[in-house]
């Protein structure tokens, strides 16, 4: 049994194989993995918001999609990953309470997803898999040994999915 590391809300972790990085119960939050297969090192972030707005508390920068991706990238490069070889996956970004969001406005989950796409494009990191949106929560288990991600849901018919 390899080490399981829990990633809390507004946190990220990077680790070499054989780590398992796990984050529980993503709703409109977005989980993002970055992985370099050649060295088997990866990172997982549990982000809350697309980017900071004026007056927001900036003490936990990994709260923001954009900042979390960049922080993870810096740490992964220090551990010996190559930016050219990194690939990304993202999970979550749901709308848990249908009717809560103004239908004319993009929901927070959607904005998190869009922010991740923009940041990854800017950094030229390909997004190789995603399971986003819907109205159900997701738990992410990232196996750094092979880059695989297991998604667990309690509400969806398909309770476990591999990415």
């Amino acid at each position: 049994m390899s080490e399981r590391t829990r990633v809390g809300i507004s946190e990220y972790r990077v680790a070499p194989a054989p780590a398992h990085l796990v984050t529980y119960g993503l709703g409109s939050c977005l989980g993002i993995t970055l992985y370099d297969e050649s060295v088997a090192i990866g990172g997982l972030a549990h982000t809350l918001l697309p980017y900071p707005r004026e007056g927001m508390d900036l003490t936990r920068p990994a709260k923001f999609v954009d900042a979390a991706i960049r922080l993870m990238l810096t740490d992964l490069l220090q551990l010996g990953c190559s930016q050219e070889r990194l690939v990304a996956k993202m999970f979550g970004g749901a709308n848990m309470f249908e009717g809560l969001q103004n239908p004319n406005r993009e929901g927070i989950g959607q904005r998190n997803i869009r922010s991740a796409r923009e940041t990854l494009t800017e950094l030229a990191i390909p997004l190789v898999a995603e399971d986003v949106g819907g109205n159900f929560g997701r738990t992410v288990e990232f196996d750094v040994a092979n880059g695989g991600v297991l998604i667990r849901c309690v509400r969806d018919e398909q309770r476990e999915r591999h990415f």
Binding site: G27, S28, R155
Partner: protein, 206 residues
């Protein structure tokens, strides 16, 4: 203003409001099911909203959450969270027929939304009449999922206001002592500007 700046007097007033509000809710629920339901409030406290999944037993624990928006002189959000077991037991008791986990049927969902509506209306009614404010709940919305997923939109809403929420632990007791207690947590999260409205109103009546 954030919850961190609340004084002990403010908290005492909020505790008093909580007891009156839940007393009114107990009366309303008892009338609804024609059976005495006692609502107790063992604890009123402030919590960092990111600790809330741990209050529920962990981010991956399955819960039922009912949320309403507060409208009127102050705005904000109310969230009522039940562990799945308690939610199913409450629905069963109110409907007088079984609800089988993991699914709540349509009647079960409507019933728990109505419980959320009664609790929020009673609470906001008590708060409004004690503080001379008009506070109205919106229609209730329900999510049945992992605790982390159910509450993360609140973290998002609160990320501008210091991440703190008023937590009112609530226990539903039936008349029979053999019945197990149904427990829930009631969270009140005024918007930052509205927290000042509330503390100002508390100051005005004290």
């Amino acid at each position: 203003m954030t919850f961190r700046q609340l004084t002990e007097e403010h908290l005492d007033a909020l505790r008093e409001i909580s007891n009156v509000g839940m007393g009114n809710a107990a009366t309303a629920l008892s009338q609804m099911v024609d059976e005495t339901i006692d609502l107790r409030v063992p604890k009123v406290s402030l919590a960092d909203i990111s600790d809330v999944p741990d209050l529920m037993g962990g981010a991956d624990m399955v819960v039922v959450g009912v949320t309403l928006q507060i409208r009127g002189d102050a705005t904000g959000t109310v969230l009522l969270v039940f562990p799945e077991e308690s939610a199913l037991r409450l629905a069963r008791r109110l409907l007088g027929r079984p609800q089988s986990a993991p699914a709540l049927d349509e009647m079960g969902i409507s019933t728990l939304k109505e419980v959320g509506n009664i609790l929020a209306s009673s609470y906001l009614g008590a708060m409004g009449s004690l503080l001379n404010l008009t506070l109205l709940p919106s229609i209730p919305l329900l999510a049945h999922d992992m605790a982390g997923a159910v509450i993360d939109y609140l973290l998002i809403e609160l990320s501008e206001s210091g991440n703190q929420a008023l937590v009112i632990e609530t226990e539903f007791h039936g008349r029979s002592p053999q019945e197990r207690v149904i427990s829930g947590h009631f969270f009140l999260m005024p918007d930052p500007a509205s927290l000042e409205v509330l503390t100002g109103a508390i100051g005005a009546v004290q």
